[in-house]
């Protein structure tokens, strides 16, 4: 046996609904009902509206940096909807707001987060997710660990973790994939390949034909899907999640999508990418094809669209209000969440933060305990 093949594998691509809203009937069979599609489309209108308003809030100085989700809604919704609310656990990055909302995160939490308020991360009891992850690529290890805990506790629950194409370059991605596969934990790795990591295009990020093939390193089930196709995303996610729930271990999903907006509001993508490329992707918008599909099925119309958009506006206005009318955070919050119990030194820092330099009860050093006239 001097020379022989010891390993071979391949990666499949899945699309069910094309850009014109045509579906492959056979593949579509086990996916979403028209009722569900309708519901999710309306939900996506709300999410897109929030996204637009968030952008405007930033532009008008009412919010800090914000990364638009625009164009990636099918990836978030198709996968998020495949996971069981209240049971499964989401470990997001920052470009899948819609999935978080589906699982019960109050919408204004996202605004609070980008308004520089930790209360946007204070996930309510019973909502199963971690807060947005700002550092890239680190959260997949947490997802792996949470899934591992589910396995140890023999709970039939699954984690799904989101990250971008750029994130797959980080060492932590590799370690998470390897731990998940070696320990066979119920975790779904969902990569939103939106073609860009800030200004770096995918083919400068890696020299790989697909992102999906990265899972082959770990003998992990993997698939590339049209990430702007709600049905394909949902089907791939459902399969992966149920396999994980049944004890079949982790899976990888590459959702091929596109970042229609700038990286964040602090970015200007015209510096580095061709508007022609963007234009080409505008037509592939996941919401356009859903609308075409629904219209063809007579489930949708211009009026319905207008009504839905109106509803979304009113709804999102309330969300903004909730975020903007929240009372100011307590300054003591800086100190009170460092540990379960505040250590003495930190208590002293909290007590003297306005009266003296730090770490020194002023009276102890013979200084004035009260602010001076300064």
């Amino acid at each position: 046996m001097p020379s022989r093949t010891v390993y071979s594998a391949s990666v499949e691509y899945l699309q069910i609904m094309d850009e014109e809203g045509h579906v492959d009937a056979k593949l579509a069979k086990d996916t979403l009902s028209d009722e569900e599609i309708l519901k999710l489309y309306q939900f996506m209108i709300d999410c897109r509206q929030l996204d637009e308003i968030a952008f405007k809030l930033q532009r008008s100085g009412r919010m800090g940096t914000y990364p638009q989700n625009k164009g990636q809604e099918a990836a978030a919704v198709g996968s998020g909807y495949a996971a069981k609310k209240g049971v499964d656990f989401l470990v997001p990055c920052y470009r899948e707001n819609a999935a978080l909302f589906l699982h019960g995160l109050p919408m204004h939490y996202i605004l609070l987060h980008w308004m520089g308020d930790e209360r946007g991360n204070q996930i309510p009891e019973g909502v199963n997710m971690t807060p947005l992850s700002i550092p890239i690529g680190t959260q997949m290890l947490h997802a792996t660990g949470i899934a591992w805990a589910f396995k140890l506790k023999k709970e039939p629950r699954v984690t799904i973790t989101y990250f971008g194409d750029g994130a797959t370059s980080e060492g932590d991605f590799h370690e998470a994939m390897n731990f998940a596969s070696t320990l066979q934990v119920p975790c779904v790795f969902f990569c939103q390949n939106n073609q860009w990591a800030i200004s770096v295009p995918r083919d400068q990020q890696m020299n790989s034909a697909t992102v999906a093939q990265k899972a082959l390193a770990y003998d992990m089930p993997t698939i590339q899907v049209d990430g702007n196709d709600l049905l394909a995303v949902h089907k791939a996610s459902k399969d992966a999640i149920e396999r994980a729930r049944q004890g079949g271990g982790p899976s990888f999903i590459e959702a091929v999508t596109y970042r229609l907006a700038d990286h964040t509001t602090a970015d200007d993508a015209r510096r580095y990418r061709d508007t022609k490329e963007v234009d080409a992707w505008v037509g592939k918008d996941p919401m356009i094809r859903l609308r075409k599909y629904l219209e063809r099925k007579n489930l949708w119309s211009d009026e319905k669209q207008k009504a839905a958009e109106e509803k979304a506006k009113i709804f999102v206005a309330d969300v903004v209000k909730a975020a903007e009318t929240i009372e100011k955070p307590l300054i003591s919050d800086i100190f009170d969440y460092t540990f379960a119990e505040i250590p003495e030194e930190l208590e002293r820092q909290k007590r003297t933060m306005r009266t003296s330099s730090l770490g020194q009860d002023p009276t102890q050093a013979g200084l004035a305990a009260e602010p001076t006239a300064y």
Binding site: E118, Q122, T138, L141, T144, K153, E175, N178, E344, Q360
Partner: protein
């Protein structure tokens, strides 16, 4: 593991005490899992986890892949998922790859989620020099983690303290870095209670009382300080404090002592600049300014890379350097 005859007779080593604490806590609380490189079947390269996998199974004492960030990051996930993970990093030099997960994630989750998500875990790490180990097996990074908000850091040097502090650490609702001075692992035995007890995190220990000078140290250096104290002139009354917890610092014990003695020498293995000695010195001059009769002295590692073992004893603070510094401080 249950105590052997030898342990019953001669007392426990640091390794024995830590092993006993792990064993007892795993019996008591089935959320506790140990994970790390070679901690399972092999019982850890220092045998600290010896026998645990046999008793509790490969699900609770897990040989992980060789990846420290993976160990730390999945331990964070385990903690968030309701377990009480005890990740081991095989040597302090290999905390480097886990640095990001430990300092930017484990340490921050409670604050950033305003208490909604917490990370109760105990990171066990052998620490320090003096055992003729290869490169990167002899460092003392404690001040790095003391500077990291959201972490507690302990470094007991006796079997008694190790057991009590480890049990406290595992039950602590926040991440604790538990440093084990490997030079002491087997060099010292002590009779300690077999039953469960805890020592509060954040309390220093007065090892010996005195009135002329305060010596503060922790980890293996405490034993060097004891040796130095032994050789001091009869009429010198030195107070030795074992910090035990690196963060939060037990300021009261140190301040009270230095207010009494007026003089202080701090001893640690880590490089001098920005080591814990700096912080303690700063605290002391802030709080004992009018009591100080001499500058606070630091006997520490140099601001150099920890040398390979042929020179390591030149680097580590020893009884001579400590004694010298005490005598000089007394004669100021």
């Amino acid at each position: 593991m249950p105590r052997t005859e030898m342990m019953k007779e001669k007392g426990l080593t640091l390794v024995d005490a830590i092993n006993e604490a792990l064993y007892q806590e795993m019996e008591r609380d089935d959320r506790v899992v140990c994970l790390g490189e070679d901690v399972g079947l092999n019982g850890g390269v220092f045998r600290v986890t010896d026998g645990l996998q046999k008793r509790f199974g490969a699900d609770r004492v897990v040989d992980t892949p060789l990846a420290e960030s993976g160990i730390m990051g999945t331990a964070i996930g385990l903690a968030m998922g309701g377990m009480r993970p005890i990740p081991e990093i095989q040597f302090e030099g290999f905390m480097g790859p886990a640095y990001d997960q430990l300092t930017n994630h484990a340490a921050r989750y409670r604050t950033r989620s305003r208490g909604a998500i917490t990370v109760p875990m105990t990171v066990r790490v052998p620490v320090g020099g003096g055992i003729h180990a290869p490169e990167l097996h002899s460092d003392s990074p404690e001040s790095i983690y003391a500077h990291t908000p959201g972490l507690k850091v302990v470094m007991p040097c006796t079997p008694y303290d190790a057991k009590g502090l480890l049990l406290a650490a595992i039950r602590d609702p926040d991440p604790v870095v538990f440093f084990e001075p490997k030079r002491v692992y087997r060099s010292y035995r002590e009779q300690i209670p077999e039953e469960d007890y805890t020592i509060p995190i954040g309390q220093a220990k007065v090892v010996s009382e005195g009135t002329d000078i305060t010596v503060v140290s922790w980890g293996a250096s405490v034993f060097e300080c004891l040796a130095a104290l032994d050789k001091l002139p009869e009429d010198v009354s030195a107070e030795l404090i074992d910090l035990r917890t690196i963060y939060p610092i037990d300021q009261d014990t140190i301040i009270q002592s230095v207010q009494k003695t007026g003089r202080c020498v701090i001893v640690h293995e880590a490089p001098k600049t920005c080591g814990m000695g700096a912080e303690l010195s700063a605290i002391i001059q802030e709080h004992c300014f009018l009591h100080l009769k001499a500058p606070v002295q630091r006997v520490a590692g140099f601001d150099t890379v920890m040398p390979y073992y042929k020179l390591e004893l030149e680097y580590l603070p020893n009884a001579e350097r400590i004694g010298e510094s005490i005598v000089q401080t007394l004669s100021y």
